[in-house]
Symmetry: C2
Subunit: 469 residues, 2 copies
C-alpha cells in the first residue's frame, strides 16, 4: 500500500527551504565543547554554542546516514530491519506513573519493571522490548537505568533501547552491551538512544553527549522531539514542522560528523497544546497530521522514519483511549513509518503506563499489521468456480476453500470481545479491561527467560550490583 | 489528500472481469415480475427470475447514473452534495436494541426514537438525520415506519432516509415527502432508500419493489449488501468483492433501466465472520480491507461511494468500541467515501444502538474531518519571522499569531477528557461514558423543532394518525 500523503511536493520543498534558512541564519544550540569542536573541524560555523549549518553541509552529512539497517538482537531470529519491509514496534517510553485496572495512580517499582519487560517479551507485536517503560520509583534516580537495562537483557532476547539521560547511563549502556554481546558485538548496532532536542532549536548537554557516544559506538540514534504548537513551537503546524525539522536535522548532522554511517531514525511526536489548559494534547487529530506530514519529510531526506504511536490523553483504557490510540497508530502506519515508539501502553499524555493498555495496544498493532497485509487477488481467491457452483441463495460454509482456510484466513482478536449481546449480558457484562488484565497476567505467568550463557548472566548481575552499590 | 489504495489497477480489472463473468453466466435473482419485465424490455436475458446482464448492458446503464448529486433538505442550508467535496455522515441504521449507560439491553420505544432524532439533529457531524435509528418495539411492526418518518420530518430539517422494508413503507415514504415538500418537490431527490441485496446474488421481493419505486420517484438509492466471507460469500476477500460487486451492479442496472439518471450510491458493509462462533465480525481489520478495496472499485465505475462506519462488535462504548470504530471510520474516509452510513451509534455487530456511542462517534466524525482538513503551508503558516525572533530556548505563547489563532487553530473534543492525571484522580475518575451521557442529555434538552409551516405539520400528523389507525 502506498503511504498516505498530506503534503504536496511544493509543500515539502517550502518546509525544507524554511528549515535551511533557519539552519543558516538562526542556528541551533549545542552547549558542549566536544560537539562544537566536531562541528568546527568540519568547517561548520559556530558562534558561542550556536551552530550554523549550510545546505551543502546538511546534504553531505545526510548522504552518509543509511536508509536501512539492522538492529541486532542477541537471538538473531529477533533482529529487526529498520527502513525495510514493515514497521518495527517498540513499547511506550518514559512514563513516571502506572495506572492500575481500577484507575489508581501508582508509583512503579523495579518489580513492576521486570514484569513489564516479561510482558514486552511475550507480546507478539512488540518487536523491540524498549527501555524506560516506566520510571521505577523505589531506586536511586542516578542508577535507575541499571535496574532497567538489566531486565531487558535477562528476560528478553528481543532488541532493546539504551539509556541516554546521563553520562553514566550512556556509559553503563555501552559497558553492558559489551558484556552481553562480547566479541560478537564488533561494529554491530544492538541498541538505540532516544534523543530529544530541547525545542526550540537547542539540545541539552546530556543529549549532546548521548549523540556523540552512541555515534562513536556505532549504535542507533533515534532523533526526535516533542514540539508543542502554540507553546514551544509556532501555533501553525507548518511552522512547527519547519522548526522541528531544523533542530532534528542539526542533531543528525552531528551524528554523521562524529561517525559517518551512524544509523539514524528520524522522528517526532510533536503536537498541539490544549488551548484551554496549556497541556499537551497527544490524542488530537493535529498529532495525526504532524505524524503524516513528518513521514513524508523523512522520505524526502531518505532516512528511516519514526512515528508515534498508540497515544491518548485519556487516563484510563476507555473508549477515548481506544479511539485516540487507533487514530494515532493507524495514521503512523498508513503514512509509512519504519519504526514506532510508544506503540503500546501509554495513557495520560505520556504521564502513565498501563499493563492493560499494553496488551490492548499490542492488539491494535496486530490489527493495523493485518490491515496492511496485501489483499491477494488471483484466480484462486476470486473463487469464480465456487461462486458459480453455490449460485444465488446458496452458502459457502461447506465449500472446500472455507474448510481449508477457516483457521488461518481471518485475524482473531487476542483481547477484544466478540461475545454476542445476550451472552455478554448473561456473563455479567465484563469490560474489555478485565479481559486485558487476564491476558497480561497469563502472559507474565507463562514467561520464561530465554537461554543466556551463565557466565554472561553472572557478569551482568555483578556489574549491576557493583555499579549500584 | 489522495484516497488510500489497497488494490492495483490489475487487481481491480480482475475483480471487474470476474463480476462480468458472474453477471453473464451465473446471473442474479430478481423475484418480481415487474422487474423482470423491465429487464426484458431492455433486451436483458432472463430465465425464470434469473437475470443475465452483459458487460455492454452494464456500462450502458452505469453511464446514466450521476457521479454527483444533491440530497435536498427542507432547509436548503442543510442540503448535501454526495460525490462532492467531502464525506456526508448519517447515523447508524437498523438496530433492534438500545444499550444504556449501565450496559443493559433495552427495547427502544417511540419516545426513544423521538429523542434520537432530536440528537441526530443536534450533533454537528451528522449531516443526514437517518432512518431506522432503532426499531421501536412498542408499536405495530407493519406501520412502525410511520412512527419513524414523522419525527425526522418534525424534529429536524436535515435530509433523512426513507423506508424500504415493505410496499406500505415505501408508499408512505413517498406520500409523506409529497406532503412535506409540496409543489417544491418536483424531481428533486429528498430521501434515500437503503437497498440490501440478499447475498449471494439475489434480491428479496420487497427490495426489488423499493428499487423500482424509489427510481420512479427520482429518489436516491443506496445499493448495499452485507456479504459474510466464509458464510454467504467466499472465505477469500477477493471472491467476496467480486461476488458482491456483481449483485450490487445488477441492482444499479435495474434502477437505471426503470428511470435513467436515478441517483445511486454504491456501497457495502461486507466483512468476515468469526470462525469460532460463525457470527458477523464488523470491528475486524478485514472489514477495513473490504471498505478500502470497495471504495476503489466504486471509483472504477464512476459512482458516488458509500462506506461504513463507526462499527464495533463490542457491547458497550469501551476501549474496544473506540478502537474498532475509529479503525472503520478513518479507513472509510481515508479511502475516499462520499457517504457514510452507520457513522455513529452502533454497538454489538449492528444489534444495538447507544445514546452514548452516538455522541462519541460524532466526535470521531469530527476528528477524521479535522485530520482531512488541508495542512496549509505558506509564508504565514511557516512563520519564519517568528521562529527567528523567538530563537533557541524561547517560547511562542505570547507571539501575535498565537494570540490571534488560539481560539480557532485547534480542534477541541466535545466529549473526550483532557483533564490531567491528578485532576482526574481528584474528580473521582469519571469515565468518558459519563461525559457522553451528560452531552446527549444536554443536547436533547436544548433541542427545538426547526420552523415548519403549521398546515404541513398538521397534515403530516393527521396522515400518520389515519394510517396507523
Amino acid at each position: 500500500m502506498k503511504p498516505q500523503e498530506i503534503l504536496s511536493q511544493g509543500d515539502m520543498e517550502r518546509i525544507h527551504r524554511t528549515s535551511v534558512r533557519i539552519l543558516e541564519n538562526v542556528g541551533v544550540e549545542f552547549p558542549a565543547d566536544s560537539a562544537l569542536a566536531a562541528f568546527r573541524q568540519h568547517d561548520v560555523r559556530t558562534a558561542g554554542s550556536r551552530v550554523y549549518i549550510t545546505e551543502d553541509q546538511l546534504w553531505d552529512a545526510l548522504a552518509s546516514a543509511p536508509d536501512q539497517f539492522t538492529l541486532h538482537a542477541r537471538n538473531a531470529d529477533r533482529s529487526v530491519t529498520i527502513g525495510g519491509d514493515g514497521p518495527v514496534f517498540a513499547p511506550g517510553y518514559g512514563a513516571p506513573f502506572l495506572i492500575d485496572a481500577d484507575g489508581e495512580k501508582q508509583v512503579p517499582t523495579v518489580e513492576d519493571y521486570h514484569d513489564l519487560v516479561r510482558l514486552a517479551h511475550q507480546l507478539p507485536n512488540q518487536d523491540v522490548s524498549g527501555h524506560l517503560l516506566v520510571e521505577p520509583g523505589d531506586v536511586a534516580a542516578e542508577t535507575a537505568h541499571l535496574h532497567m537495562l538489566y531486565p531487558h537483557m535477562i528476560h528478553s532476547d528481543k532488541p532493546f533501547l539504551g539509556s541516554v539521560d546521563s553520562e553514566l547511563g550512556v556509559r553503563h549502556t555501552m559497558e553492558m552491551i559489551h558484556i552481553l554481546f562480547g566479541d560478537a558485538l564488533g561494529d554491530r548496532a544492538v541498541t538505540m538512544g532516544v534523543i530529544s532536542s530541547l525545542t526550540p532549536l537547542s539540545y541539552s548537554p546530556p543529549m549532546v553527549n548521548a549523540i556523540m557516544r552512541y555515534a562513536q559506538e556505532h549504535q542507533v540514534l533515534l532523533m526526535a522531539n516533542l514540539a508543542m504548537a502554540g507553546s514551544t513551537a509556532p501555533i501553525t503546524l507548518a511552522g512547527l514542522l519547519a522548526m522541528q525539522n531544523t533542530e532534528m536535522l542539526a542533531g543528525i548532522v552531528l551524528s554523521q560528523l562524529v561517525s559517518p554511517g551512524t544509523p539514524v531514525i528520524y522522528g517526532t511526536t510533536s503536537t498541539n497544546i490544549d488551548m484551554r489548559s496549556g497541556a499537551l494534547a497527544i490524542g488530537s487529530p493535529e498529532l495525526a497530521q504532524v505524524v503524516a506530514a513528518h513521514q513524508q519529510l523523512v522520505r524526502f531526506y531518505g532516512l528511516p522514519s519514526r512515528g508515534s504511536g498508540a497515544l491518548t490523553d485519556a487516563n484510563y483504557p476507555n473508549a477515548q483511549a481506544g479511539l485516540e490510540s487507533m487514530m494515532g497508530m493507524l495514521t503512523v502506519i498508513n503514512s509509512g513509518a519504519d519504526f514506532v515508539l510508544h506503540a503500546a501502553g501509554i495513557l495520560s499524555s505520556y504521564l502513565a503506563f498501563s499493563y492493560e493498555k499494553f496488551v490492548l495496544d499490542d492488539e491494535i498493532c496486530g490489527r493495523v499489521r493485518r490491515f496492511h497485509r496485501p489483499l491477494v487477488v488471483d484466480d484462486e481467491t476470486l473463487a469464480y468456480d465456487a461462486i458459480a457452483r453455490v449460485g444465488p441463495g446458496g452458502n459457502f460454509l461447506m465449500e472446500d476453500a472455507t474448510l481449508e482456510r477457516c483457521r488461518t484466513e481471518f485475524w482473531e482478536p487476542p483481547v477484544s470481545d466478540r461475545t454476542a449481546l445476550d451472552g455478554w449480558q448473561q456473563a455479567g457484562r465484563p469490560d474489555v479491561v478485565t479481559r486485558a488484565t487476564k491476558r497480561w497476567q497469563r502472559l507474565v505467568a507463562a514467561h520464561e527467560d530465554p537461554p543466556l550463557d551463565g557466565i554472561i548472566a553472572r557478569q551482568l548481575k555483578t556489574f549491576v550490583e557493583e555499579e549500584t552499590r
